[in-house]
Symmetry: C2
Amino acid sequence: MDMHSPHISTSFDNELRQARSMVMSMGGLVEQQIDNAMRALFEHNTDLGQAAASGDYKVNEYEVRIDELVIETIARRQPNANDLRFLFTIIKIITDLERIGDKAEKIGRLSVTLAPMIESHEFVGDMRLMGEMVQRMLHESLDAFARLDAEAAMRISGEDDEVNALYSTILGKIMAHMSSNPNTLDVSMDIIWCLRAFERIGDHVTNICEYVVFLVKGKDVRHLTREDMLLEVTSRN
Amino acid sequence: MDMHSPHISTSFDNELRQARSMVMSMGGLVEQQIDNAMRALFEHNTDLGQAAASGDYKVNEYEVRIDELVIETIARRQPNANDLRFLFTIIKIITDLERIGDKAEKIGRLSVTLAPMIESHEFVGDMRLMGEMVQRMLHESLDAFARLDAEAAMRISGEDDEVNALYSTILGKIMAHMSSNPNTLDVSMDIIWCLRAFERIGDHVTNICEYVVFLVKGKDVRHLTREDMLLEVTSRN
């Protein structure tokens, strides 16, 4: 870890590296799960929908194992403040990753009945756009974590405003659609649950980005306004 | 902390006590926020709705302060495995408490326009019942944390099944209502968002209960089936 002062014990560095690489593996699994869910939903691939829905246990296992590793490492190594912040950040990040996995699971489950209904649906393009946005944001946030890049993390969390705006726009449209098509309310509601899951993934990615900023800058930017947050990140402390 | 071996330093015990008492204060605030949101929604009290919506920053502040306290305590005191597990649990629990606060904020915001529309609505009784259920569950889960009562935590998390069943039933009813009343879709959707917020509060309370079991039993029961979980809690290890 280049940001940390050198340790007497190299095997401690190995443990930190191991913890980080497990977070990246868990992130990769969650990305795969979202990818499966997206392809199930938009390419009508039922097998992948079931894979997204049933593969969540692997993500959950990762969360439990990483938590264990972190607790053990702290107990055994009595890390300094910097390393402790790194381990703390990991614990927080994987909580959000696990919940992103839950959303992918949900989309996977919904896709099984929803995919054939939306193939030519007027909202399918907007939905896909939103899904691809949060998918890219997740990938970039994991990258920002791996590279300890606070500026990138800030930029990505800013993109969540676009996701939220898109969500509101599509939600408005689909509600208008619902009032003129009350006979297909079930499909419309399932579309809303998918949109909502994408929107929540964006929120969790934002949380991950805030933890990356905290890790790099040593300052807690959660719950700050965006202006104050930018100030923290750009200040040379 | 009666569950821990005696410490050489009494002031460390004081720090653990302080951390626990801050979690309880944060929990109390979140309970107050839900209570405000409930009264705003069902007793048509706009002021309390705004209080629930705007009071969330206090809850957020608590989260940040407790996280800081925990990191500082670990860095300074190099706690043993038991105390570390306690501090780890706190970090996880307050993440869920903060998100319960978010849901209360959302209900508070929705209540401002929704309360006058649902006064005599056919779903108001069911909604209130569901709200009261998760409200009681939250209170009892905080109690289980304070008393380190794994059995109570298990029982409370089991009640979430009832919350989920109630949620599905009401959701089914309101969707039937929507198809015959497409002119009041906005109100129906806001009711669904409230129900969904209550349902999510139940999920977060379940998470809190699982952390309490982990704290007391030293075993991770997240993502276990309920049968396996019961086995873990009742086993004398």
